[in-house]
Each structure stands twice: as C-alpha cells, then as structure tokens.
C-alpha cells in the first residue's frame, strides 16, 4: 500500500526525493480510505467504485445533488447500508487500527463484526432521532451503557464532557432527567451528536445533520463541527455548498453514484478541474 506510512516516517521525511522525482509525501495520517467501494439496492447500482481517502482529525465534506448516493456511500462506512433489504456492498474500507500493530484494518474483511466497526465510527442522521422514552442523560449514555461496560461515575463524567463537546451542556444540565424528545429540533440534533461522541469514535459520519434545522441551530452545529477538528475525523454530507465551504478542508463531489472530483475545499470551489463540478457549484444543476 502506497499510503501505508508509519507516523515516524511521516515526521522525518518531507523532502523525500526519490529517483529524481518530486514526491509529495503524505504529511498527515489517513483516517479512512475507501477502495473501489460500490453499493447496491437490489439491482440498482447506487454507489460506483468510489476510492478516496480522508485525513485524520480533518473535516471532509461530501456534496452532490440529491439522489446521487451520498447517504448510501456514507452508510457503507459504518456498515449500516447492509442492514437494509436487498442491500449489497463491494470494495474495501480501511481505517486506522487500534491494536499495537497500528496498521490499518479493512472493515469489510470477512470475519469483522459490524457491531465493533460501529463502535469506532459514529453517525449523526439527517433527522434528529433521540431514543423515545429515554431521558437526556440516558440518551447520551446509551452507547456506553449498552455497548460497553462502564462504571456509573465514569458514565456521568462522559455524559457531561460529551454534552459540552456538543455545546448542549449549559442548556440541559438542569434537566438531564427530562425526555430527550422534549428538546427542540436543534437541541435534539446536538443531543444526537453528544450521543455519538460519548463512545469516543475515531470517525464521526454526519448525513446532512442540519438540513432539518433552522439557521441558528445550523450555525451552532457548524460551529461545533469546526471545534471538533483536531479531535475526531468528521465526514459530513451536505447539499448546502456554503456549509461545505465554511467547515471542511477537503471536499468530494458526487454525481449519479460516481466520484467526479475530490480535493481541498478551497480549490474545488474556486478552480474545479471538472466542468461538471463547476456547473454544480455555480448552480447550473442539482
């Protein structure tokens, strides 16, 4: 694997000049890489051989017109796609390992338990979906409580830090026992973010997390995503291009299940290489 570079090697190099070629050596670690990732609903080929990589602790945006397979793609990354009826996936997704080896692991290798994958890759959905009947506290604690064994004192601490990370703590600290569904839409979405962060995922997937929210709630969530940079790798789907431009450093443009272009957000929005990308960002379709 060309990209399989150990961290030490990363730091020492920088002027790697082999065979007279000016090799750009990866400065950052890769948190996630997809290799020819395809997904189907029955016979409908929805995601077509997508290969891209996401830098660690970065914010990566996925844009494209609706129906182009953004959600399906992102749902392949935590092995949620396969839960649907008639759903199928092929290709590989590599994430950083947590073992001593530090090598990368393919989440689609046979024998890998999807449940353990999902503990390391969190997800926030389009519509806020707190667990009905569970309190705010229980909602945030649910992942730890039901997927891991955690002591009560630790739990309280994690709930507090997660709610603070999701910029919700001040609003709910006095009513942690109230049902999660009693919050406003924007608060519910931040609750869902806190719930996802509570299990300390390596990667956080967000599927149009603000499309159901008002502008103020949207701004708060964008703000918190920017704060998360450096702590967790975020991959965010959005059909709001301004949003992608504001919060991400890399952007990929999808069209009809194919990856048209990927690169630094700045460049994608100012000097796209593909004419389709240009048409899309200048609002000529989609």
């Amino acid at each position: 694997m060309a990209l399989d570079v150990s961290p030490e090697f990363n730091q020492k190099t920088g002027m790697g000049n082999l065979d007279g070629q000016n090799l750009e050596v990866e400065q950052k670690q890769i948190a996630l890489e997809t290799q020819k990732l395809s997904a189907w609903f029955g016979d409908h080929h929805v995601v077509k051989e997508i290969s891209l990589s996401v830098e660690k602790n970065d914010v990566f945006a996925l844009i494209g017109p609706s129906g182009c397979g953004k959600s399906t793609f992102i749902r392949c990354l935590n092995r949620l796609h396969e839960e649907g009826e008639g759903a199928r996936v092929s290709g590989d997704v590599l994430i950083q390992g947590i073992g001593k080896s530090g090598g990368r692991e393919n989440i689609y290798r046979s024998g890998v338990d999807p449940v353990s994958v999902r503990r390391r890759i969190g997800m926030v959905f389009q519509k806020p979906n707190p667990f009905p009947g569970l309190s705010i506290f229980e909602n945030v604690a649910s992942g730890l409580r039901l997927a891991q064994v955690v002591r009560r004192s630790v739990l309280e601490e994690v709930v507090e830090t997660s709610l603070k990370q999701a910029a919700l703590w001040d609003e709910v600290k006095d009513k942690l026992k109230k049902p999660g569904t009693s919050l406003s839409g924007g608060q519910q979405q931040r609750l869902c973010i806190a719930r996802a962060l509570a299990v300390r995922p390596q990667i956080l997937l967000m599927d149009e997390p603000t499309s159901a929210l008002d502008p103020i709630s949207t701004a708060r969530i964008e703000e918190l995503v920017m704060k998360l940079r450096g702590e967790v790798t975020v991959m965010i789907v959005t059909h709001n291009m301004q949003q992608a431009a504001r919060i991400s450093s890399q952007t990929a443009f999808f069209l009809m299940g194919e990856l048209v272009e990927v690169g630094p957000t700045n460049r994608i929005f100012t000097k796209p290489k593909e004419s389709k990308t240009e048409q899309y960002i200048t609002g000529r379709f989609g």
């Binding site: 999902r118 959905f125 979906n129 667990f131 009905p132 009947g133 649910s142 039901l146």
Partner: protein, 280 residues
C-alpha cells in the same frame, strides 16, 4: 353573487339528508349495546352481593350461593393465558417485525392470520385432543392452553403493528452506536412502546375472558372452587352458560349477575386500553 344557486341549495339538502341518515344508522348501531347493558343491570343487579363473589353455588333448590368458583377459575385461566399465550404472542410479533419481509416472516404472518380465523370451538377440540385425552381429565392446564392459542395471534399482530410504528431511524441510531441488534430491540425500542403493547394485550385478555367454546371440554367446570391446575376448573362464561339454561330460579339469577359482572370486567378492560392509548 352571494345568493345560493339551485345547485348549492340541492347540495345543502343532500347534506342534511346524509347527516340525518348517518345519525339514524349510528343510533341503530349503539341501540343493542344500550339494551344489553340496561337488561343486564335490570336482571343482574338484584343478585349482586358479597356472597356472589365469596360463596360457591348451592345445590339445586337451595337459596343463596355465589359464583366464587367461576370467578377464581376465570382468574386462574386468564393467568395461565397471560403466562403462556401473551409472551408467545409478543415474541411472535417481535419476530414478525424484525424479520420484515423475509420468507420466514411471510409464512409466519399467514399462519398467524389463519389461526385468528380458526373458530374457537375447533381450538377447544384441539386442546381436548392434545391435553385432556393424554392427561385423562379436564384441567385448568387444558383451558389455559386453549385460551393461549386464541390469544397468540391477537397479541402477535397487535405487537407487530405497534413495533411497525417505531421509525426505522431509531433502530438505526442504536445500531450506529455499536449496540447489538437484540439490545437495540430490548433496551431501546421496546421500552418506548410498552403502553402500546400492553394495550394490545389487554384487548386480547378482554376478548378471551368471554370465550366459552374453548373451555367447554377443556377446563370444563366445577362447583366447589379451585382445586389445582390439573383439576376441572370453572369459569364465568361456562358457568353462565350452564346456569342460564338450568331450571333452577336461583341459578338463573346467578347467571344474570355473572353476565353483568363479566360484561363489566370486559368493559373496564376496554376503558383501560383507551386510557393507555390516550396516554401514549
């Protein structure tokens, strides 16, 4: 401009006639209910006393006595149903909703629907063949078995319907946290629909508490009270059936009062379910 045209006028008249017809039909529909209730109160109320609930029936010709045997028997039979039929029905409903449209689920769904339409006398006959005959006698077990079979499809279907109402996204939120599927179901989905499932269970219990046919040759009857799960056991509907068709005036009075009590209990169960529905 604002004057009514002939067409508007015709529409108004049609409207009044239609509403009138609906009112009459609606009234016709609730009339039987009204008469049943008033007649039951008229005939049954006089027999209500503490003795009715605490005494076993007296032999023919003697005054007094109650239906304690039938009341306790019914409670035993319903408890057996709650202990076996209800959980099996719930599991069945959960399986149906989890397996969605798989082949197994489709087969199970057809089976459940068929079971719903089997006449309860046939279910009684089946229980007679597989429990009463091998055990060489009528028993509460056999009655509870028959009532459980009546309950399973009702509870299964209502449980499935309630679970279907839980948005898929809640399920996915749980899975996305790395929570195993069974725990998502048991700890995150089911607690949220408790009262809905309970409503279905109560309706099913209300329904079986009046079942007579499956008990006639399974639990049978007795006139001395509960003597263990392996003995013949009385129940309100069977006792009402026996006493109402007897020639003893005291017994016939007991039957009317028993009917009043039975209808009252079923009525309360139904009200309780309405209350639960409103709450959730």
């Amino acid at each position: 401009m604002l004057e009514l045209s002939a067409r508007d006028r015709r529409r108004r008249v049609t409207n009044v006639i239609a509403i009138g017809a609906l009112c009459v039909l609606g009234f016709l529909a609730i009339t039987p209910l009204f008469f049943i209730f008033s007649y039951l109160i008229l005939r049954g109320w006089g027999g209500l006393s503490l003795d009715f609930f605490l005494e076993i029936p007296k032999p023919v010709g003697e005054e007094g006595g109650g239906m304690a045997n039938a009341i306790s028997g019914s409670l035993v039979l319903l408890s057996l149903t709650a202990a076996f039929g209800v959980p099996i029905g719930m599991l069945c409903g959960i399986a149906l909703s989890e397996l969605k449209n798989s082949f197994t689920a489709r087969v199970l769904r057809v089976a459940v629907d068929l079971l719903t339409s089997v006449p309860s006398i046939v279910i009684g006959l089946f229980a007679y063949a597989v429990i009463v005959v091998p055990m060489k006698g009528y028993s509460a077990w056999a009655g509870g078995f028959a009532l459980s079979i009546v309950t399973v499809p009702i509870v299964a279907r209502s449980t499935e319907e309630i679970l279907k109402l839980v948005p898929r996204t809640v399920h996915e939120a749980g899975l996305a946290l790395g929570i195993p599927r069974y725990k998502v179901l048991l700890r995150l989905i089911l607690p949220g629909v408790r009262s809905g499932i309970l409503t279905g269970v109560l309706l099913a219990m209300a329904r079986v508490s009046g079942e007579t046919a499956p008990l006639l040759f399974t639990a049978f009857s007795n006139s001395f009270g509960f003597r263990g799960l392996s003995s013949p056991t009385a129940s309100l509907p069977v006792q009402i059936y026996t006493y109402a068709t007897s020639h003893d005036e005291t017994w016939r009075q007991l039957a009317w009062t028993g009917a009043l009590v039975l209808v009252f209990v079923v009525f309360c169960l139904n009200l309780l379910t309405r209350f639960l529905v409103r709450k959730s």
